[in-house]
């Protein structure tokens, strides 16, 4: 049973990652930086609970703020460039974040041992959940309440004028500008919201795995992030959730008998999915 809870936890956290890419993708921007914001949130929450003794909930709040802040800062220069350049810029940023944490040491002594991030070795002993007696089931419910909240938030956006404006920008920037939409403000705001969601996801990730390191926040994770909304389609948030369940559930766990070859299959599966259904599972609403 614990195994399945664990799987549901992973799906939850990855859904947050996917949702963070989803809102940015609505504005037509392909961002490979979400894994970077995820990493920032992970280290921030970890450091606050382990080094400063905070409770998880405010630590996650801080993760959201950090993720949002970094995303906003990255958003301004990065969104001045278009399309493919943005992909490259966000990719480089994501790698930059990973390299930063590869070089990042901040340890303090707690009793007899030293805790905190230690460069290439990563950040171990993020033990808020076990230390406070949370069961796997409780962690799972906690994660999914946050996921549900994020989904509700994005659903609300989608039904509001903001959601239509996001999609208008994604569809035709020239026309959007000509009806008075401030492109930069819209794009940066989407990036910021995405950063906040990714940050919270990262914070949760750090706590259920209890050990994070730079290598986990690599190009593969960045790809997962953007793959979910692309494979799931942009009609609404459920497409992204479906894609996460499909990829993580079916692919990684269901094909566990393939052992090490699973990762190979991920790449091949994406190639196949894109060839068969270029606009995703729940693609754009149908044209007459």
């Amino acid at each position: 049973m614990d195994f399945y809870f664990g799987l549901v936890q992973i799906i939850g956290v990855h859904t947050l990652l996917g949702l963070s890419a989803y809102i940015v993708l609505l504005t037509g921007q392909v961002s490979l930086a979400q894994a970077g914001f995820f990493a920032v949130g992970a280290y921030a929450a970890g450091m606050l609970t382990v080094l400063a003794g905070w409770h998880l909930v405010p630590a996650l709040g801080a993760s959201a703020v950090c993720g949002a802040g970094v995303a906003c800062a990255v958003g301004f220069p990065a969104l001045r460039v278009k399309g493919l350049m943005l992909v490259i810029a966000t990719l480089a940023f994501g790698e930059g974040v990973r390299l930063f944490f590869f070089n990042f040491d901040y340890q303090i002594a707690k009793g007899e041992i030293k805790v905190g991030p230690l460069g290439g070795e990563g950040f171990r002993q993020i033990r808020f959940f076990p230390e406070n007696g949370w069961t796997t089931g409780e962690v799972m419910v906690f994660i999914w309440s946050i996921v549900a909240a994020a989904m509700a938030l994005l659903w609300w956006f989608d039904r509001s004028r903001y959601g239509s404006v996001l999609r208008a920008v994604g569809e035709d920037e020239l026309a959007a500008q000509s009806v008075g939409i401030n492109l930069t403000a819209v794009k940066v705001s989407a990036m910021t919201v995405g950063g906040a969601i990714a940050g919270v996801g990262g914070g949760l990730y750090a706590h259920y795995t209890t050990h994070i390191e730079h290598a986990s926040f690599n190009i593969l994770l960045a790809t997962f992030a953007i793959a979910y909304p692309i494979v799931g389609g942009l009609r609404n948030v459920f497409g992204t959730v479906l894609a996460v369940i499909f990829v993580q559930g079916f692919l990684i766990e269901g094909l566990r008998f393939l052992g090490d070859w699973r990762n190979l299959l991920f790449g091949a599966l994406i190639v196949l999915a894109m060839n068969l259904r270029p606009s995703g599972f729940l693609g754009a609403r149908r044209r007459a």
């Binding site: 392909v30 220069p77 990065a78 001045r80 460039v81 399309g83 493919l84 350049m85 992909v87 490259i88 810029a89 990719l91 480089a92 940023f93 790698e95 930059g96 390299l99 930063f100 590869f102 070089n103 690599n218 190009i219 593969l220 790809t223 953007i226 793959a227 692309i230 494979v231 090490d260 070859w261 990762n263 190979l264 991920f266 790449g267 091949a268 599966l269 994406i270 190639v271 894109m274 060839n275 270029p278 606009s279």
Partner: protein, 292 residues
């Protein structure tokens, strides 16, 4: 001061490989307005495949291994074209982009599996040759890397500017619709572009392996990022830009390494990218005027 000059010179010579990778990215962008994210991985893959020559013929000269990498690169290039661009409608840019990312991951994993994650040593040529001028050294193997890269770039320019295929390619990059109306077969031009850039990439991968001494799958991600940085700094679509930017990035990278060490080096290369993005997003040479 001498250390600085030495770092610059070694870096620039090595930067020729980055220039080749940058050319590969930028050429595909120029012709198809798409980025082939799998390019650097395919180049390293080609280099690995070159090692198969040694399996067949244990005492093969390095030149043969390079040739193997060259051919394998071309083959991989064609495969990427088939899986990512031939069937997917070009009007779905997200789909083609994701597809190339999928191939990047796939190639990476295949390499890891086949080699079981063990770095493979790569044959080098002239690695024992050193030209000295006082305290200043020019490594023979780096000179070879530079020389081979220059030959490849010259061959590419000849191809683009002196052959019918090159003419067709340049036509497609400027006006794809009009080019088709003139009877140019788009699929053929696109596929050939991938094969040609693949050939270049295979050589680049082999040269990297030769100058570093070993090949490891850990090379693909940094190479992808640096290749893209070179492409952006040089200007998307500009081959001379990619060449200059490649040498530039190579030089800068080595200087960063001299002053800040290997682990921080790549961070500064990223910063270089952001400086360019903020101040000169068009790159050193703005792209050729495209159909857009």
């Amino acid at each position: 001061m001498l250390d600085f000059l030495q770092a610059v010179s070694d870096g620039v010579l090595f930067g020729a490989t980055y220039a080749l990778i940058g050319i590969g990215f930028t050429l595909v962008f120029g012709v198809m307005h798409k980025i082939n994210m799998a390019y650097a991985a395919a180049s390293i893959g080609g280099a690995y495949a070159g090692l198969l020559v040694l399996k067949v013929m244990a005492a093969a000269p390095p030149a043969l291994v390079f040739l193997g990498a060259f051919a394998a690169g071309g083959l991989l290039g064609w495969m990427v074209y088939l899986t990512c661009f031939h069937f997917i409608p070009l009007s779905s840019p997200l789909a083609t982009l994701m597809s190339t990312v999928g191939m990047l991951l796939l190639i990476d994993e295949v390499i890891v599996h086949v080699t079981q994650g063990m770095p493979q040593s790569y044959p080098a040529m002239f690695d024992d040759v050193m030209l000295r001028a006082g305290e200043f050294t020019l490594r023979g193997d780096l000179l070879l890397v530079f020389g081979v890269a220059v030959v490849c770039m010259a061959a590419l320019m000849l191809l683009l500017y002196r052959t019918r295929l090159g003419l067709a390619t340049r036509a497609v990059s400027q006006q794809p619709v009009a080019a088709r109306l003139c009877g140019i077969r788009l699929e053929q031009v696109n596929a050939t572009t991938f094969v040609v850039t693949g050939l270049l990439g295979g050589i680049a991968g082999a040269l990297i392996g030769a100058s570093v001494g070993t090949l490891s799958p850990l090379l693909t991600t940094p190479l992808t990022v640096k290749g893209l940085i070179v492409t952006v700094i040089g200007g998307l679509g500009s081959i001379p830009g990619a060449i200059v930017a490649g040498l530039l990035v190579g030089g800068f990278e080595n200087v960063f390494q001299l002053y800040r060490g290997v682990t921080e080096r790549d961070l500064y290369v990223m910063l270089l990218l952001f400086v360019f993005l903020v101040f000169r997003p068009g790159g050193i040479f703005a792209a050729k005027s495209g159909g857009d």
